[in-house]
């Protein structure tokens, strides 16, 4: 349980820089902010983050399943 919680926290911490960077430009429109800014490089960043997040979430699910299995075999 503890391990799970700290992993989640780590993930949030890792995402923080990306989030703040996306909001740092001070444009009024959040879309310009997040997707259109500086040659649309932020779109690429978002896409890569989504993939990493998706794989991460899948890992959490697998982690839970394995933990359940461990508890049962004990």
């Amino acid at each position: 349980m503890m391990r799970n919680g700290s992993a989640r926290l780590l993930l949030l911490l890792a995402l923080l820089p990306a989030w703040t960077a996306a909001h740092a430009q001070g444009e009024p429109d959040w879309l310009v902010d997040t997707l259109y800014g500086s040659g649309k490089i932020n779109t690429v960043i978002t896409v890569v983050s989504v993939i990493l997040l998706g794989i991460g979430l899948w890992l959490f699910r697998l982690d839970r399943r394995i933990a359940r299995m461990e508890k049962r075999t004990k």
Binding site: L31, L35, Y36, S38, G39, K40, I41, T43, V44, T46, V47, V48, V50, I51, G54, W58, L62, R65, I66, M69, R72, T73
Partner: protein
Amino acid sequence: MRTLWWKIMALALVLAASITALRTPLAPAIVYASGGPFAPGGNSASVIGYRTHFMAAPVRVFLENGGQFVEASSTVVADDTHLTARFEVPVGLREDMSDLVVVAPGHGAMRLFAAFYNPEKGTGAVDGVTDAPQQGERAGFVFPNRNILYETIRNLNFHVPMWFTMMLLQTISFVFSIKVLGSGRWLDDRAAVQAVNASLLFAILGLITGSIWARATWSGWWTSDAKLNGAAVTVLIYLAYLVLRGSVTDLAKRARLAAIYNIFAYVLMLLFIMALPRMTASLHPGSGGNPAFSQYDLDDSLRPVFYAAVLGWMGIGTWIFNLQYRLARIENRHDEERLR
């Protein structure tokens, strides 16, 4: 499947492709031009480039209209990415829209399609036109640069492999479903459903990344598009597959029904995806009359990176499927022992 080498290969391929996809510079390109409509006579235009170096080299600016070129009479370079050009537009240009072509050493010929409206059409200009400019070499290993894509062309190496991986996992599931009908082994059924689970992970990733990319280039989260419809149908089919499994309690019957539905659905889905591009319009490259990525990528710089990414992600997808399958097998063995 527990060998290590192909997993390392897959990781290495994804890593190499991702780094290349993020680090490779974009080709310099013209992304914006204001001015016009260009009636015959003196007209000026301000031009914005992306990743261009106007200051470093002599820049020549042209209009192209129906194969005829008009060179700018004067060009003022403000900085590396901004310049203004003045054209003496001749009478009688053929087409409604003129392209803007900027030629600079090391940049190649940069073209902005349909940049200016030409209000007075004729049958071809006689005076004031020049020959086609020399194309010039483009320096270094770069990605193509299009004015609505910009940096997002890099997404090609992240978004598209998701769909390839999904298709591979569904094919794996299809093969295991055929095996279920032949052998009736519960293990094959487990493999089929775990492959579907893994394929849905990649389908969801493909949908979300595609949606984000679409918002940034076509300014809509969802467009009516052949590829998107195909993706939607695929996801619906496999969700229905899971619903079907959920509604049958008898294990042997569930395995058989699910396998039959999977085979039926997979074949029809393949036909659908093959027939779709002829039936609906598409904004995607390579279909619905759009140029494929390779067509406007002169030096094929995208291709090797893209293939590496696809192969690598396919490996990762297979790995994910493999893990889920092995875990399911352990779970099942455990359940059986407890029942005994």
